[in-house]
Subunit: 361 residues, 2 copies
């Protein structure tokens, strides 16, 4: 019997890989099945699976066809037939032992209560996320946790810091509120965010400058090699890795400088993670941290228009629970690190925000 | 003035790199100086610096010679001259915003209270750490957090698990106490630990088998490709990476399998981390997590005999506060991953437990 179950998982993994054109192992399939046992909400199944949304949606489609799962009142359940077929796997629920006090990050986001409460007030007035810029902001608790993590590394005080896009998270503004950095420059394509940052910078006399910039373009030469630390949160295509992360590295002054960025399993498979790590290793930077589910994203208004929704099994919008999370990388440059500053607008036809693994842009 | 400070940090970084023969950047030097401002305890300076112990000790030696720091009552302080020289850096203390409830891991180690209390009792009777095996165990909270993290990934239930050494942490035993794995095999060179594990396995009817094995040797063929998950916590030489981590990977069944191991900044520089990551990338595995300060080590009885103590500035043994921490890696195998199972005893003269960056073995 055990062999049959193994074969079932193997068959499913091959079929899903073929249909979604994204690799998944039998272990990945088992985890999706366990996620279905853990929750009936399609968005939480995605979160718990830690597999790309497109893969999970394709899996659910196949399981529905085979009548292994069913949809009832916009919820997903195993059918009787499904439970019968799967009974030999001895599927267990996935436990969630994260610390509730710190939302599982290990960082007390209320550590600096004044910073936290000030930021909480200011961010309420932030511009709403736009689909055209692939926006979707992290929670204010996430933004503050990013600031505190960097402080605990000594990466903020007296440092010259560059933010490459994703200022819908207001990270540049939050860093400036600490009054610790020597200088912060925010580059973002969205004029609304630039105006928002500059308004608060002037009002509160912060060491922050924000400028409209399209990061697909080459960075101006006077930014190369000028910063101690960068932060970014790119769309997850190989083009975006080059456009945001490698450009960030190019702006760093010398060996020993630092970069932070987010990366998900929602829009990226293990294979894309591997490519990312190869690119970083080839650039002569070392990864010092990959923190799981560090970034919590608020639900964004245009989800209904994205592939992740349109191809979903239950076609139900998420409730207020956080389902889209991402992991947070920290890297340090080594002697001989490479500065790559390319113009992505030259690569016509290549997708910047989208690839086959991406479903939320 | 700022330029002078920059030059001072640059000069110091070059001198320290030369004398310790381990690379450190001016940012690393700045962080050591900030650590001295944060605490006067030499062991906590090491923890906060996140630089190799040998580098921190060499730095303190140089700063003592230059009368920038002084030792008083076994504590380390800046001298008046030191404060004068450094006043333009505007050195700030390093903040510690970790969540106190979960010790900064983001995992509630009391999540399964029965598991926690049972393990807490059993581990009190564990054999004491021995220098000859480079032992030094993690706290019971750490061991349980490792178990819970793996459970939250679905890496325990019904899995065949291999523990490669470091069973002084009693991780194999703790995993077995959950009664979730299909099978656990523990290999360790220390017969006392093997007997301890087998005693409890028999007494509590656990799915655990422990065998004496010297991991410098090639693994027996019948272990290659037979496990779903491995755990290890190697000494930190390139030889040990091959002896423990690559051998662990060799025992995994297929793509999608998982490995966990610890790695520090205490006995390894950023450059050794880079080499580790290159080796992993070349083996076609992807790193999914690097969790900072996940592992807390209890102080071990032979510290006094190690280089880390003998070359320390204050020559004071640590109090009960945790100072030796390490980071916790999780990796996943990809299609085409490499199984490397070499005999390290053939490499005579190569050091297994020790290299130039290692000071606690």
């Amino acid at each position: 019997m055990e062999k049959e179950v193994k074969n079932l998982l193997l068959d499913l993994s091959q079929l899903i890989s073929q249909k979604s054109r994204i690799w998944i192992s039998p272990y990945g399939v088992e985890k999706i099945l366990r996620a279905i046992k853990t929750t009936s909400d399609q968005w939480m199944i995605i979160r718990i699976s830690e597999e790309p949304i497109n893969v999970v949606n394709k899996t659910l489609e196949i399981l529905l066809e085979r009548k292994i799962v069913k949809v009832k009142n916009e919820k997903i359940y195993f059918t009787k037939r499904g439970r019968e077929i799967l009974k030999d796997i001895n599927l267990e629920k996935i436990v969630k032992p994260e610390c509730r006090k710190c939302e599982g990050r290990g960082i007390n986001f209320k550590f600096d209560s004044k910073l936290y409460s000030t930021f909480l007030e200011i961010q309420k007035k932030r511009p709403k996320p736009l689909k055209k810029y692939d926006q979707g902001n992290v929670t204010p608790q996430t933004t503050i946790a990013r600031v505190l993590l960097a402080m605990s590394h000594g990466d903020i005080e007296n440092k010259e810091i560059l933010i490459l896009g994703a200022e819908d998270d207001l990270l540049g503004l939050a860093l400036a509120l600490t009054k610790k950095p020597k200088k912060i420059l925010v580059l973002d394509i969205d004029k609304r965010l630039i105006d928002f940052d500059n308004y608060w910078a002037e009002k509160l006399k912060l060491n922050l400058k924000a400028e409209v910039f399209d990061l697909r373009r080459k960075l101006p030469k006077d930014l190369i090699g000028k910063f101690d630390v960068f932060f970014t949160d790119p769309s997850e295509t190989v083009q975006s890795i080059k456009g945001f992360i490698l450009k960030g590295i190019a702006t760093l002054k010398s060996p020993g400088c630092v970069g932070y960025f987010g990366f998900t399993f929602k829009d990226s498979s293990l294979k894309k993670w591997y490519i990312l790590q190869k690119i970083l290793n080839n650039s002569k930077v070392v990864i010092t941290e990959i923190l799981r589910e560090f970034n919590f994203y608020e639900n964004w208004p245009y989800l209904e228009e994205t592939k992740s929704f349109k191809e979903s099994a239950a076609e139900k919008l998420p409730d207020k629970t956080i389902w889209y999370t991402s992991n947070w990388y920290r890297l340090v440059t080594l002697p001989g690190f490479k500065r790559i500053n390319i113009d992505l607008l030259k690569y016509k036809g290549k997708k910047f925000y989208n690839d086959i693994e991406n479903s939320t842009s």
